[in-house]
């Protein structure tokens, strides 16, 4: 008898956390061999929904059936037994263990001693099936992000999953790596595995998905076959209003050079880089992951020590030896990784906001708490940061709101040069739009902006000028952004 019921059916899923209703009545249906894109802004409930699937959260109400059979996913183990594999944004790999040890972690065969040769062979087979070449005996910390992701996929396959959930798998991948990932996903499809794919990159969704399901504010908004969906329609479903222009670039009046960098070097990561940014200009810096973009701006910000090179701002030569010096001079850096570098997660959003700005509010080292609260309150309003109160821990915010807190912290500095490193990574469409408009306002006020991004449409859409990096060096400069193409940039970036 052929089983005609769908592979996975979630109905009326509800989940509340203290003070927050994360999911209210969400439905989702996944067929065998289907790629379903789960879309929604940050805080729409995607993460909560997949955590229910992975057995990390228990729903308050609703049913989950797999091939017509009701299942209870009471723990991560129960989810694996039911055939569900979840690859979270933060990988669950032990950095010191090698690939096959990670794949079979917790499921080692035999009694006391690990059957090493069996596991090693199995892992090699899995990689072969995936058509990838990953060294077996290397500790995972030495693998690239893309390789680590493949290890996660191999791990899921070794558990005979029928449903594979991937949360933002492409966030840290280069375009080539994303292509390769898609090849693997299509291969998994032909084996009848159902895939739930979460991404903020709309281009990818149209490329890979069969069906698109949209959530908003914890509610099911609708679904449609990918073929019938348009970009505009999907954004409207996600945001709840239509966004006219994805990249609302407004050219500001560009003046004299402000930040001038000359011959910056650090080992092999950054090699003899010179450039300048002018008043009111947005300078895009792009290139492949590992091309040295982040390393470059960390040198300017004083986060790492430079081997050589001069930095000057508004004609004044700067001696930057620490972030403290850079901030004092008027250079601020919005780091690529909010959680590990941008925020102190266990402290309140107000304290995070205040951290670099305390001297402005203080009198002989004593903090004027009211002035601090008032200052932050203004940003809460103007950036529409969604928090119940200023004492909320930074940890409990969604990605978009966290990014806004970091932004508020630097805006209060009134920086002369503001460096954005991947400002919209993992951030929803609505917040992206707000960040772009903020860049416009800053540029109009005469701030010079450096924007590092791997998303070429964003770089092309928002920059006045683009620098392309490759292996630590500047490989090209695009001054006529309007007539540049993604292909042109990629060619330069590859080297």
């Amino acid at each position: 008898m052929v089983n005609t019921s769908p592979l996975l059916q979630m109905q009326g899923i509800e989940k509340s956390f203290p003070g927050v209703r994360a999911l209210s009545g969400v439905d989702l249906t996944l067929q065998r061999g289907e790629v379903l894109a789960l879309m929604g802004e940050n805080g729409a409930g995607k993460s909560t929904l997949i955590k229910t699937l992975g057995g990390a959260h228990q729903p308050d109400a609703g049913t989950i059936t797999i091939e017509g059979k009701l299942v209870s996913l009471s723990s991560p183990t129960a989810a694996i037994v039911a055939g569900i594999g979840v690859i979270y944004q933060e990988f669950n790999l032990i950095p010191e263990l090698n690939t096959w040890e990670n794949i079979f972690l917790g499921r080692e065969k035999s009694g006391f001693f690990v059957d090493r040769s069996h596991e090693r062979t199995r892992a090699a087979e899995l990689f072969k099936q995936l058509g990838v070449d990953i060294p077996l005996d290397v500790p995972c910390r030495r693998l690239s992000v893309a390789q680590q992701q493949l290890v996660e996929i191999a791990k899921a396959l070794s558990q005979d999953v029928r449903i594979l959930v991937m949360d933002e798998p492409s966030a840290a991948l280069t375009p080539q790596e994303v292509e390769k990932l898609f090849t693997i996903i299509r291969d998994l499809q032909t084996r009848g595995i159902g895939i739930i794919y979460i991404s903020h990159r709309l281009d990818e969704i149209f490329n890979i998905a069969d069906t698109i399901t949209v959530l908003r504010d914890g509610q099911y908004v609708g679904d449609a076959p990918a073929k019938e969906m348009t970009r505009e329609k999907m954004i409207e479903m996600m945001v709840g209003r239509s966004i006219e222009n994805e990249f609302p670039k407004q050219a500001a009046e560009i003046g004299e050079p402000r930040l001038v960098v000359d011959g910056l070097c650090r080992g092999t990561a950054v090699r003899n880089v010179s450039f300048n940014v002018r008043r009111g200009e947005v300078l895009g810096i792009t290139g492949l992951v590992g091309a040295g973009r982040t390393e470059l701006v960390r040198l300017i910000f004083g986060a790492d020590r430079r081997d050589a090179g001069e930095i000057s701002l508004d004609g004044e030569s700067l001696k930057i030896r620490s972030p403290q010096d850079a901030i004092h001079a008027g250079i601020c850096l919005l780091t690529e990784d909010r959680k590990s570098q941008g925020l102190v997660l266990c402290r309140s959003v107000r304290e995070n906001f205040g951290l670099p700005n305390l001297k402005q509010f203080s009198w002989f080292g004593a903090i004027g708490q009211k002035r601090e609260r008032d200052a932050f309150g203004q940003y809460v309003d103007s950036l529409s940061i969604r928090i119940p109160h200023q004492e909320q821990l930074a940890r409990n915010l969604s990605g978009g709101n966290q990014q806004k807190v970091v932004l508020a912290k630097w805006l209060q500095q009134n920086a002369k040069t503001l460096i954005f490193d991947e400002p919209t990574r993992g951030i929803d469409v609505g917040t992206k739009h707000e960040i772009y408009q903020l860049m416009n306002r800053l540029a109009a006020d005469g701030t010079s902006i450096i924007m590092i991004s791997s998303e070429l449409p964003e770089v092309l859409g928002m920059s006045d000028r683009i620098l392309v990096m490759h292996e630590g060096q500047l490989k090209g400069e695009i001054t006529d952004v309007k007539s540049a193409t993604q292909e042109h940039i990629m060619e330069t970036a590859i080297g």
Binding site: L343, V344, L355
Partner: protein, 449 residues
């Protein structure tokens, strides 16, 4: 979109953050109930109490008579009152145990001999005699006795002061430890630094005349002790920041080195020839609060002042905010322009200095003994952890540590009063620390953190 905190939120916050205060209250009530005992108007206990009352009211120039009958407990009363009065420096004119006529006769003789009688220490029954009013120069209003009552031994003023006094040094050192633990570090050397500071202080006093040393020499010696411990803290901090050696290892090494150094300084001896002025550092200050006079131990006063200052620093100043940020996420703090190394260095130096202060107090109380403060660090860490500071760093409260130190002191004192053996006490203390951390962990999990 900032709205005032909802009411229920305020209550849960209160419970979460000050739950330990409730635990402390619970302990105080429990121990009070368990040490509740009958206080008679006769017997040794009453004798001492009456003697204390008289000494407080009349001072040492008083001439006192002790009057009892010959019933059960009266003899103990007389003996205890007599010795307690003499200890307090009061003149005991006569001690009488007998029938009313005998009392009258003896009292009259005493008045003649000493010229006056200022007070009469009496048992409850004897105080009821009417004959006092019939003696020239004596009156029943001069009788001092205690009412029979029930009062818990634990909750007596002297016991409470005793607990506070015992807590003070631990609590003072625990301030520094709290700061260190908030930066996600640890300092195992504080016990040894207490010894180092104590022997340095005592040794400098000895060089300046020992028991006859003047005030100037005492001040210099205290500064020397404080500096020695602060320098050790600065050394630890330098190792941790400049060479990135884990705090556990650095302070373990400093713990050994400081202990060895302390023993060398005094050649394993204990220096106890110390001037009275130095002894009085850890003595008491007489206070008059609402007409009630009592001696508040100086270490307790110091503790209260230091906690108030530390609380203000940690909640209201840039330095305090930076300490929390460094412990919560050192990299994010650095990239926000916080001088992470500088803050860490200051914190370890402060911790050393506070241990040094503890050492001076211990030397003043006891002696300049290189064996002081052995295992002290563990009690201090326990106080910090019981007080709700997370070993993961970034979170913790100064007053939480004070509560933690008090909880541990109260448990120890209560068990002593209940005559529980020290082996059982260790078991209970170990369990208390574990439960405190367990509650904290479960609470955090509940927050979904």
């Amino acid at each position: 979109m900032t709205s005032p905190k909802p009411k229920s939120h305020v209550w849960t916050t209160l419970l979460n953050e000050y739950g330990m205060v409730l635990v402390l209250l619970f302990l105080v009530i429990t121990f009070s109930a368990m040490t509740l005992q009958q206080m008679d108007s006769t017997g040794a206990e009453a004798g001492r109490e009456v003697a204390r009352l008289i000494a407080d009211q009349h001072g040492t120039s008083a001439v006192v008579a002790v009057v009892t009958a010959t019933k059960g407990g009266d003899e103990e009363f007389a003996v205890a009152a007599n010795s307690a009065l003499q200890e307090a420096g009061v003149t005991v004119a006569v001690t009488i145990s007998g029938s009313p006529p005998q009392v009258k006769q003896a009292l009259e003789a005493a008045v003649v001999k000493h010229g006056r009688i200022d007070a009469i220490a009496a048992t409850g029954d004897s105080a009821g005699l009417t004959l006092f009013d019939r003696i020239e120069g004596v009156g029943s209003e001069k009788c001092v006795s205690v009412e029979p009552s029930k009062w818990p031994k634990f909750a007596k003023a002297e016991n409470i002061l005793n607990v506070a006094n015992q807590t003070a040094v631990y609590a003072i050192v625990a301030i520094g430890m709290t700061l260190v633990i908030i930066t996600a570090g640890i300092d195992l050397s504080v016990g040894s630094l207490i010894a180092l500071s104590a022997v340095t202080t005592a040794a400098v006093i000895q060089m300046n005349g020992g028991g006859d040393a003047g005030t100037g020499a005492i001040v210099v010696s205290c500064i020397a002790g404080l500096l020695a411990a602060a320098a050790a803290g600065f050394f630890s901090g330098t190792m941790i920041t400049a060479f990135r050696v884990p705090p556990f290892i650095v302070t373990l090494s400093v713990m050994l080195m400081a202990r060895g150094l302390a023993r060398r300084i005094t050649d394993e001896e204990s220096i106890s020839d110390l001037p009275q002025k130095f002894r009085s550092i850890a003595g008491s200050t007489e206070l008059n609060l609402l007409g009630y006079e009592f001696g508040l131990p100086n270490p307790v006063i110091l503790m209260i002042v230091l906690y108030a200052i530390a609380h203000l620093i940690m909640t209201k100043t840039i330095f305090g905010r930076y300490v929390y940020a460094v412990g919560g996420n050192a990299e994010a703090a650095r990239l926000s322009g916080v001088g992470v190394k500088k803050i860490t260095l200051i914190v370890y130096t402060l911790c050393g200095a506070l241990a040094g202060l503890g050492g001076i107090l211990q030397a003043s109380k006891l002696s300049g003994d290189p064996k002081l403060g052995v295992m002290f660090e563990l009690d201090v860490i326990a106080a910090v952890v019981v007080g709700g500071t997370s070993l993961m760093g970034g979170q913790g409260r100064i007053f939480g540590t004070l509560i933690g130190a008090l909880i541990i002191a109260v448990i120890k004192n209560g068990m002593n009063l209940m005559k529980i053996g020290s082996s059982d006490q260790q078991i209970v203390l170990g369990a208390v620390i574990l439960i405190a951390v367990l509650i904290d962990t479960l609470k955090r999990r509940g927050e979904g953190a």
